[in-house]
């Protein structure tokens, strides 16, 4: 098991973790889970024990801690992408559905707005349904990220 502290890389620091290394992956996990903007190589991983880590802990700046094992690294590379892809598909499907139905319903509402059938009002529930759908997906996404935090013992400081 390896423990790292993750913090922003100094802008003048030319050293980045080579892709695929445990340090680079640790930065990716922190970036994705905490939704940190920018590329993962804007972060650096330092060993969780040692003088550098002690200095980081003493500073009043934001940093993260993470624990990874060979097994959880494999989960990150092999299991989590499939779930993220499925979550994105659900989210994209929801957006497409909302757009299509909203357009048709607006079209229908316009056509119904006068003349003989003005009393007919289709249920204006697209937005209600979309809100429910979005909140459901957000709940799943939050639960998924909570699991990732638990799995990698992720913590945010300051």
């Amino acid at each position: 098991m390896s423990k790292f502290l993750i913090l922003p890389r100094d802008s003048d620091d030319p050293k980045v973790h080579p892709p695929g290394t445990i340090e680079a992956t640790a930065c990716e996990i922190v970036k994705d889970t905490f939704r940190i903007p920018g590329a993962a190589d804007k972060l650096q991983a330092i060993p969780g024990l040692g003088p550098a880590a002690s200095i980081v802990r003493l500073k009043d700046e934001t940093y993260y801690s993470i624990e990874v094992t060979k097994k959880t690294l494999n989960i990150w590379h092999q299991v989590i992408p499939e779930i993220e892809s499925a979550l994105n598909d659900v989210s994209n499907t929801l957006v497409t559905i909302e757009d299509d139905l909203y357009r048709s319903m607006s079209d229908l509402n316009d056509a119904l707005s006068d003349k003989s059938f003005s009393g007919v009002v289709p249920d204006d529930t697209i937005s209600v349904w979309a809100t429910i759908g979005e909140s459901s997906i957000k709940e799943i996404d939050d639960a998924f990220r909570d699991k990732i935090k638990e799995l990698y013992k992720l913590e945010k400081f300051n």
């Binding site: 659900v90 139905l101 048709s104 007919v120 529930t125 349904w129 429910i132 759908g133």
Partner: protein
């Protein structure tokens, strides 16, 4: 005003309504009011004035009657026909949306369930999808067909709806 008797067309395609005729219109109205997906020429209509018809006999055999006069014809041509198409489009989209959402949610469920660490996350299961779609399933078409039925005084006989 003319009353049209609408029958289930059992002529195996030998008899058809004249395109653009009020008979064809009566059949279209009957189809829309029934809310069933019926093929073209499923019904055939005859006006009550037709001397070959005997009202009581027709009443026993007909599916329904539809009243059409000049004013109602305009309502059908200028308003109801395109509204019916729009409702159908919306209904189709709702069905497709349900199917797509159900598929995407199932894929997510499969992806979660086969894992060791994420299998207990509650995802959008079939019941959730059904429940959320209940909000939009009623697109107002029933209200529309009720009003259409009132305007054209559609009267159904026996249990012969569709």
């Amino acid at each position: 005003m003319t009353k049209y008797f609408v029958f289930r067309n059992q002529s195996n395609g030998e008899q058809k309504n004249v395109p653009g005729s009020r008979e064809e219109m009566a059949c279209e109205i009957a189809k829309v009011v029934s809310q069933d997906a019926l093929p073209k020429d499923f019904y055939i209509a005859f006006p009550q004035e037709n001397k070959q018809t005997v009202f009581e006999t027709l009443r026993e055999m007909a599916t329904c009657t539809v009243e059409i006069d000049d004013e109602r014809e305009k309502i059908w041509v200028n308003e109801a026909q395109s509204l019916s198409d729009k409702f159908n489009t919306l209904e189709d989209q709702i069905g497709e949306a349900y199917s797509n959402m159900y598929g995407a949610a199932n894929d997510l469920g499969d992806a979660l369930e086969k894992t060791e660490h994420f299998s207990d996350i509650e995802y959008l299961g079939p019941k959730t999808i059904e429940r959320t779609f209940e909000y939009i399933e009623s697109s107002g078409i029933s209200q529309f067909t009720e009003q259409l039925s009132e305007i054209f005084e559609v009267e159904y006989f026996h249990h012969q709806r569709a």
